[in-house]
């Protein structure tokens, strides 16, 4: 059954080819059938493969499928080959399954759009590329998927191409991530030059033999790969593109900019964790970047008005958690959080999309309010997603994954408590900002007319994802709460489990309790400030706080900074050099010959005698040379 593996990316790719080739001439129903069906079939195959993989694990806990040899030059012979191991299995499942739900949702959400076929073509291509990314056995193929998803992200952010702002956002996303990608390309080149292969298993095998821990080359290689991961996963300093990416349709935000693509960086680091372990400095940088990003983004999320931008910053923040986990060496926790995050963040986006669809595409949360009565399903699912995001204890999936990360941070050897504290503050702010959104949007006074008009194709994904956002966490619970270890045992073969820590279960329980308290406290603060509007909340209106608010609203001024430091100088230089300074040099040559022509042509008087005189003078000179020389 595992031999069907190639079909999982091939089916969505086929869907893309069909939709691309017909170029919008198919009726909408056929488009939806192809678009949703291809991903659905892919999900089914993924499930079959999973079942087969779990019941009869292949030898060595991985399955390798070579499709063809891509390039073979000397020792450089990357193959188009897929590798199914527990890590890629989890990724594949999440991608196909969440992808299918979002496709289903989109088939209704996007109905009537003139680019319906184009939308599904891009979405299908995205799923295919994302699957190639996670299934790739070779870093070069991984990079192919990596760029493919970037392309689809670009296409879908700029999906409504009539508005230049969307185009600008799309371009920004592509360019910023491409900066990281270029670092990654250099990283690949460095790896190949030094280790002589790009096949991931061989790389992971050869790297520890070739390089001692902390060696400069290993550090450089890890840093370059990290560059790619930072761009794709919107971490500091390459995070600025993600909030703008919300210009795309909401399902796109749910699938690409929340559930799957932006976590590719997490996947990459987990996949090449051996390298990062060889470069402790870089691993520490991963943790620090993650901690910084999660805090920065959380504070920005707290100040957004745009419904989707709240979720975008939230995504950046949550990926920050994953980076924190990776940096702390809690590889499994990162992947676990990736999975739960995919569920609850997709759910949040889809619910938000449903809400905005019903109120005439209004994005400003302060123009909403009291919507829970009109849109009960959207409300319920958003609330579940929010609870999971805020990691409300015990009942939500987010709780278990976040707890695993915090515990991993606490027990990690490098700066553990500091990382933990950052995560904790982040948890508090997370709860505040997401419940701010819940309270402002769904409670309070009704400010806008809402008509519930979603059908089953929207309702079903919301329902399924709600269940997953709540129950998806029970595959891995901490020692104090049942000690289920299904997830980490599954990933054991790929990712090293964290070092056994001597800390007593009591410590773990305490740490967990503090985190739970922080989450609940966050909800309560949000309640007080945004629903009850307690007196103390007037402090928010003071000018100092307002200034801070504007600063955070603008994402800590990164856009401003980049605009001044990078974009404007580039534009300035490009405009300055539009007519090509080098050309001016050649024009100078042309000009000087024109000037000398003007002077020399004055000697051409057109008079025979003048010419004859020069003729004589020249002859005389020649004779003189002959006679006297």
């Amino acid at each position: 059954m595992l031999a069907l593996l190639w079909l999982t990316p091939a089916l969505p790719l086929l869907g893309f080819v069909i939709l691309f080739a017909t170029a919008g001439r198919l009726p909408a129903s056929a488009v939806a059938a192809v678009g949703v069906g291809s991903v659905g079939l892919s999900a089914v195959i993924a499930l079959i493969i999973t079942a087969s993989f779990l019941t009869t694990p292949p030898e060595g806990d991985f399955y390798r499928q070579v499709l063809w040899r891509w390039i073979a030059i000397g020792s450089f012979n990357p193959e188009v080959a897929f590798r199914l191991d527990p890590l890629s299995l989890v990724m594949m499942l999440v991608i196909t399954f969440v992808g299918f739900l979002i496709h289903l949702y989109s088939s209704e959400f996007m109905a009537g759009d003139e680019g319906y076929s184009r939308f599904f073509a891009s979405m299908n291509l995205f799923v295919a590329a994302m699957l190639i990314l996670v299934l790739a056995d070779d870093l070069l193929l991984l990079y192919a998927g990596w760029e493919g998803v970037g392309l689809c992200s670009y296409l879908l952010i700029g999906f409504w191409y009539r508005d230049p702002a969307n185009g600008a956002a799309a371009r920004k996303a592509f360019i910023v991530t491409r900066i990281g990608d270029t670092a990654m390309v250099v990283g690949l080149i460095l790896l190949f030059t030094r280790l002589g292969t790009l096949a991931i298993p061989e790389l992971m095998e050869r790297a520890p033999q070739a390089w001692p821990a902390g060696s400069a080359t290993a550090t450089a290689a890890a840093a370059l790969l990290l560059g790619g991961a930072l761009g794709k996963s919107a971490q500091i300093p390459l995070q600025t593109w993600l909030p703008d990416a919300m210009a795309g349709p909401t399902p796109v935000s749910a699938l690409i900019h929340a559930a799957t693509m932006v976590t590719a960086g997490v996947y990459l680091i987990a996949r090449t964790h051996v390298l990062f372990e060889l470069a402790p400095a870089i691993q520490l940088a991963v943790a620090a970047i993650g901690a910084a990003t999660l805090l920065l983004a959380a504070f920005s999320a707290l100040n957004q008005h745009d419904f989707k931008r709240i979720l975008a910053y939230s995504t950046i923040s949550q990926i920050g958690y994953m980076f924190l986990a990776l940096g702390a060496g809690a590889w499994t926790a990162a992947i676990f959080h990736f999975m739960t995050h995919a569920f609850f963040k997709a759910l949040l986006f889809l619910a938000a999309g449903a809400v905005m669809m019903c109120i005439g595409d209004e994005h400003d949360i302060f123009r909403m309010g009291g919507l829970w009565r009109r849109l009960p399903l959207a409300f319920a699912s958003f609330l579940i997603g929010a609870a999971s995001l805020a990691a409300l204890p015990l009942v939500t999936a987010g709780f278990y994954s976040k707890d695993m990360i915090l515990w991993g941070a606490w027990t990690s050897g490098r700066g553990g408590p500091a990382l933990w504290a950052a995560g904790l503050i982040g948890a508090l702010v997370t709860a505040i900002y997401i419940f701010r959104a819940v309270f402002v949007v769904f409670f309070g006074e009704m400010q806008i007319a809402a008509r519930s008009r979603y059908g089953w194709r929207i309702a079903v994904p919301l329902g399924v994802l709600s269940v997953l956002a709540l129950g998806g966490g029970f595959v891995e619970t901490p020692a104090a709460l049942g000690h289920v270890e299904a997830f980490s045992r599954l990933l054991e073969a790929v990712l090293p489990t964290q070092r056994e820590v001597a800390a007593a279960p009591a410590t773990q329980a305490t740490v967990m309790a503090i985190a739970s308290f922080a989450a609940l406290a966050g909800v309560f603060i949000a309640y007080l400030v945004y629903l009850r509007r307690v007196r103390a909340a007037t402090i928010l209106d003071t000018s100092a706080v307002q200034r801070l608010h504007r600063f955070w609203l603008a994402g800590w001024g990164f856009d401003w900074l980049y605009d001044r430091v990078l974009v404007r100088p580039f534009l300035w230089f490009a405009q300055l050099n539009r007519d090509d300074a080098v050309d001016a040099v050649y024009d100078g040559v042309a000009f000087s010959s024109r000037v000398s022509h003007a002077y020399l042509s004055r000697t051409q008087t057109g008079r025979v005698r003048w010419y004859a005189g020069w003729l004589v003078a020249g002859s005389l000179a020649a004779i003189a040379i002959a006679v006297f020389a």
């Binding site: 493919g148 191409y161 390309v185």
Partner: protein, 495 residues
């Protein structure tokens, strides 16, 4: 005989096409298509039934024995691929200018086919004098293509093209004469034969100067920074077919010259010169990209992007190892197809909205969805998306160059970002946003779709299965590399 026929068929076709205009205005097109298809068939036949070893076929006829000049042709994998590219792009160019060129079709196809005959000759010639002959042969008709059928500022552009290429060609002629004379002094035999001249030992300074003569000629044609200013003008002003041939084929003659002559004939000098050449390549990558970004004329944008792509080629050639050289070959072919396609797209756009000014365009996606989609496809190919041909070329070049010169490779890699900037700017400004100027004609017709589909499939095939191509060119490159195997720094990559 087979090889000579590759040159003779287009040349005969040229004359026939010229004379046939009086029969019917479309007759020259069919004759041109037929001649190119016949030449293509011959090429494929040679490919299939070629001899073993690096040289698939050879021809050596006596021409001017008194001066040691022979009509010597040879076809190896490198020439084969470039000739295939030349003929294929020639066919596509004829097809693409079906409606654009309405006047003097006979003369147009005469010049087009003569150019192609010259290019094929350049790719085949193994006698330096013969090489120079073909080098000049392809130049003159191209001048007329630009000057007669070009756009508004065609005369100036044509003259600029001519002066740059002719001036640099004269430098090459001097270099050819110099190497022949040095050989004459050393051995007492006057010869222009490639193989005889190859083994010759030259003093370090002499070889450096002679090499620079060749290098400048090829660098102008390539074009490498800072010899590029002729290119934007010529490409912008040429008619679509001219731009396609210029970008797709003529630029490759420069790269071919570097591969075939500069490095094998002067290995030591080339090795000493390599850092500078690679620097020029890396600068070209970035400079062309920045230049492309700032343009308002679509055609100029595409033309400037060629400078960027050819920078990779220069970088890879002087890295001179198996990876980089194969990357160079793939990059050349992929660039020929993708840029050729972009020029065709611009031509189709201009036919429909009568402008090339990006400031007047916008929102064409709604009106011309197919054209826009294909434009997007090739813009993306240009920016080097994996799975499409350009990526394979660029990645292999970078991979190979890193071995030779890591810092410059990293600089050139920054070109990947710059490529995104200009490619997306092109797409965004032309096809997205508000509709500014409507099209006066419907979306692509079947003939146009067929042309574009062929190119899309080719570039995709190149990106996904480059191996057959790499295998074809492999013996030829190995042979070139063996010629200077004694030089340790330039040997094949050994990880």
């Amino acid at each position: 005989m087979m090889l000579a026929s590759l040159i003779i068929i287009p040349a005969l076709g040229a004359i026939l096409a010229w004379r046939s205009e009086r029969l019917h205005p479309d007759a020259p097109r069919w004759i041109a298509l037929g001649a190119l298809a016949a030449a293509l068939a011959v090429t494929v036949a040679v490919w299939m039934h070629g001899q073993d070893g690096p040289w698939l076929a050879e021809t050596n006829w006596s021409w001017i024995p008194q001066l040691g000049i022979a009509f010597r042709l040879g076809l190896d994998g490198l020439s084969l691929l470039l000739i295939l590219l030349t003929l294929a792009l020639g066919i596509l160019a004829v097809a693409a200018s079906w409606t654009e060129i309405a006047e003097r079709t006979g003369l147009f196809h005469l010049t087009l086919l003569l150019t192609l005959a010259g290019v094929v000759g350049v790719f085949l010639a193994l006698d330096l004098f013969l090489f120079f002959f073909f080098w000049e042969l392809m130049l003159v008709p191209m001048y007329f293509i630009i000057a007669v059928w070009g756009h508004e500022e065609r005369i100036g552009a044509a003259i600029k093209f001519f002066i740059f290429t002719q001036g640099s060609g004269l430098l090459m002629l001097i270099a050819i004469l110099a190497i022949a004379l040095v050989h004459l002094q050393a051995t007492g035999r006057l010869t222009f034969d490639y193989f005889e001249l190859m083994g010759m030992a030259l003093g370090p300074d002499v070889s450096l100067f002679i090499m620079l003569g060749f290098f400048v000629a090829f660098a102008v044609k390539l074009p490498a920074f800072p010899f590029h200013p002729w290119l934007p003008d010529a490409h912008t002003q040429a008619p679509t077919a001219g731009s396609v041939i210029l970008a797709g084929v003529l630029l490759k003659t420069g790269a071919y010259g570097l591969l075939r002559f500069v490095v094998p004939l002067f290995p030591d000098a080339a090795m000493r010169f390599a850092p500078i050449a690679m620097l020029l390549g890396a600068i070209g990558v970035l400079y062309g990209a920045v230049l492309a970004f700032a343009q308002n004329d679509v055609k100029r944008l595409v033309a400037d992007s060629s400078i960027s792509h050819m920078g990779f080629v220069l970088l890879g050639i002087f890295a001179w190892n198996a990876l980089a050289l194969k990357g160079v070959v793939v990059q050349m072919i992929a660039h020929g197809i993708s840029t050729g396609a972009l020029f065709i797209i611009v031509g189709l756009l201009q036919e429909r909205i009568h402008t090339r000014d990006l400031r007047l365009m916008g929102g064409l996606s709604a009106q011309l969805p197919r054209l826009s989609m294909i434009g997007l496809f090739f813009a993306i190919a240009t920016l080097g998306l994996p799975g499409l041909g350009n990526f394979v070329g660029e990645f292999l070049v970078l991979l190979g160059s890193f071995d030779a010169n890591p810092p410059l490779t990293i600089v050139a890699a920054a070109g990947l970002v710059a490529a995104v900037i200009y490619a997306l700017t092109l797409v965004q400004r032309a096809f997205h946003g508000e509709l500014r100027r409507s099209s006066s004609a419907p979306d692509l017709c079947l003939r146009e779709m067929a042309v574009m589909a062929v190119m899309m499939i080719l570039i995709l095939w190149l990106g996904v299965r480059p191996q057959p191509l790499l295998d074809t060119v492999s013996p030829a490159l190995l042979n070139l590399q063996k010629l200077d195997a004694s030089h340790a720094a330039l040997t094949e990559h050994q990880p």
